[in-house]
Amino acid sequence: MNRREFLKRSIVVVAGMALPTAALELIDPKKLLAAKPELRWVFLVDTYKCVGCGFCVKACKIENEVPYDADVTRTWVERYVITRDGKTHIDTPKGALNGFTSRKIDIGQGHTEEIRDEDIVQSFFVPKLCNQCENPPCVQVCPVGATYQTADGVVLVDRKWCIGCGYCIMGCPYGVRFFHPVYKVAEKCNFCYHRISKGMKTACVDACPFSARRIGNLRDPNDPVTKVIMTERVAILKEEYGTKPQVYYLGLSKEVR
């Protein structure tokens, strides 16, 4: 084979190999999803309405098949009790799976702390879930790309690809991630992606008897959730990390962690 022949054949081989690659390019899922630029899921939590019943946590565990009694959960509710001496007492027994059945504050290891009613100056509940950050640190640190952000803003985990290194769990400032006790891979709230992508609400939104939890589309100016976010004074959690969380809170207090 002379040089000319070699070059000719090389071109044929390269072109032949480039063809299937180009075909792959056509069905790039990212581009397909980007065809819906009018969608960005957001969540709105109204802390004034939350009573800490824990129905959302129950519904979430059942809907998303996180073992019911396991001490991990995709969503949870925190109780804040602020006393006269300026101290903040926080607890979330079993993530508030069974609500808050005791007036005593759970301080871990089976110990509780009793607070007299007359010492309490303020008390409220704060539901927590994945913030589906615009700049998600968990996606950034995943070494194999098993966790990713969809075009509509939700961060998902590929259970077939996750190696279980735990770097994303370390990277999340909100502590929403954990290892699924059955699948042994990273697990987190995904706004019930299987439901919202079919036009339903998330399990927790449906379960909340007081509409403390709502989900909406930030790109739709007529969405009632978007209207609240745009027109009222809402706050986000841990802004200092630059993660740009997309769960907005009404009535967030400075004590909230």
């Binding site: 290194c165 990390y241 962690r257």
Partner: protein, 417 residues
């Protein structure tokens, strides 16, 4: 049971999903890679900068670094929840993640060490094969060595003056190239922690530098200990064998531990130790001085919860006492070994205090978590992430080194470089 629940004790308010997810194996990981990098840097001091006093220990630490290399990967595999998918880090690296660089950096480094070893030992391979071929009554081991070494030469049989000079040059280049790569290998382990913005204790740009310095410190310390111990063991074994076979050389004729080698190595150890301590203290002072939001909880972890681990075990036993021991005039081999052992403890505790200490507080800054090292395993998980899993990782390099040194002798060799 949820992963992490078996060994985590929670106190006050922690988020429900928070556990100590990175345990003893992740302490072992930077500790082992640190030893790899440190051992390599030590050998390079001789090969690149021509520090003649280190000649004896250079060959030794190079082989030791090679033996440590596969072990740096072991703790990672042991801590993965899906170890069978670990290879994905190599196959589908996601480059915004610090861990994704592991495959590339690690294999580059492995290739450099392997190539350098080959150039160092090529002359020995060729000479041994030629020697053994003329021998009429070969032992089974020697008959095994002939084909093995023949393969290892990879057809490069030329050991003329000119060829050896070229070898030496190649070693020098590889060793020089290896230093930044070794530093990168370890600095990037520091980056893995330092870049986690969610963790108040880890996030500092000093982390990679601190990791490199302590890596070199631990690597040198382990080389001193292993060098002295194996030299002594060798003498001991020879003395025992001589009882049966008086023709063997006496212990006096054997090369023994050279004090000047140890003294010189200790000097470099102290140098890097000073650098490491300075940076660590700078970090601590800076945190206290700037006192940002996280300082309240960090202070209670550093000065209260982990006081013994940080100030007694790490700084006093691991830094201050060995520092005095090694700096005191008229250094003896025994004192150097004791000092080096304490330095190793210090570096191990530093890794512990970073990895476990970083998870000792909730990211809510309102609660604490404590890691209870599982001692007696009752399932696979408590074995892997417990005392015995860690011991397994710690012992493996020595086993590997034993087998490697059968093929690549590291002691008392004439010639070579």
């Amino acid at each position: 049971m949820v992963h992490g629940e078996a060994w985590t004790i929670k106190e006050f308010f922690t988020y429900p999903n928070e556990y100590i997810y990175w345990t003893i194996q992740i302490v072992m990981y930077p500790f082992m890679t640190g030893l790899v990098a440190g051992a390599f840097v030590l050998s390079s001091l001789y090969h690149v900068f021509g520090i003649k006093q280190l000649k004896d220990i250079a060959r030794f630490s190079l082989v030791f670094s090679f033996a440590l290399l596969p072990v740096a990967m072991m703790p990672l595999m042991l801590h993965l929840q899906q170890p069978q998918r670990g290879i994905e880090v190599m196959m589908t690296p996601h480059f915004t993640s610090a861990i994704a660089a592991f495959g590339i950096v690690f294999s580059t480094y492995g290739m450099i060490v392997a190539a350098e070893l080959w150039f160092v030992y090529r002359q020995y391979f060729v000479q041994t094969v030629q020697e053994l071929k003329t021998k009429t009554n070969r032992t089974a081991w020697e008959s095994f060595l002939v084909p093995l070494y023949s393969i290892l030469t990879m057809g490069a049989w030329d050991i003329s003056e000119h060829a050896l000079e070229k070898d030496e040059k190649a070693v020098k280049i590889l060793a020089g190239l290896g230093i930044p790569v070794a530093c990168f290998l370890h600095g990037y382990a520091g980056f893995i922690f330092g870049s986690v913005k969610a963790n108040a204790l880890w996030m500092t740009p000093l982390m990679p530098v601190i990791f490199i310095c302590s890596a070199v410190v631990s690597g040198i310390a382990l080389c001193i200990v292993t060098y002295v111990v194996s030299m002594e063991l060798r003498k001991f074994i020879f003395a025992w064998r001589r009882k049966l076979n008086p023709d063997l050389p006496t212990t006096a004729e054997l090369k023994s531990v050279e004090l000047h080698v140890v003294t010189m190595t200790v000097k470099y150890l102290i140098m890097f130790l000073i650098l490491a301590i300075t940076l660590e203290l700078l970090d601590l002072i800076f945190r206290g001085y700037t006192a940002v939001k996280s300082w309240d909880i960090l202070r209670s972890v550093i000065y209260e919860k982990d006081f013994t681990k940080i100030f007694i075990l790490q700084y006093t036993c691991g830094n201050l006492i060995p520092f005095i021991l090694l700096l005191f005039p008229r250094l003896t081999v025994r004192r150097a070994v004791l000092g080096a052992l304490m330095v190793l403890l210090g570096v191990f505790m530093m890794r512990w205090n970073v990895v476990i200490g970083g998870q000792a507080f909730s990211s809510s800054f309102a609660g604490f978590m404590e890691y209870q090292l599982p001692i007696w395993p009752h399932d696979m998980e408590t074995f892997k992430e417990g005392l015995f899993g860690a011991l397994m990782v710690a012992v493996t390099p020595f086993v590997l080194f034993y087998f490697l040194s059968r093929i690549l002798p590291v002691f008392g060799q004439k010639g070579g470089h």
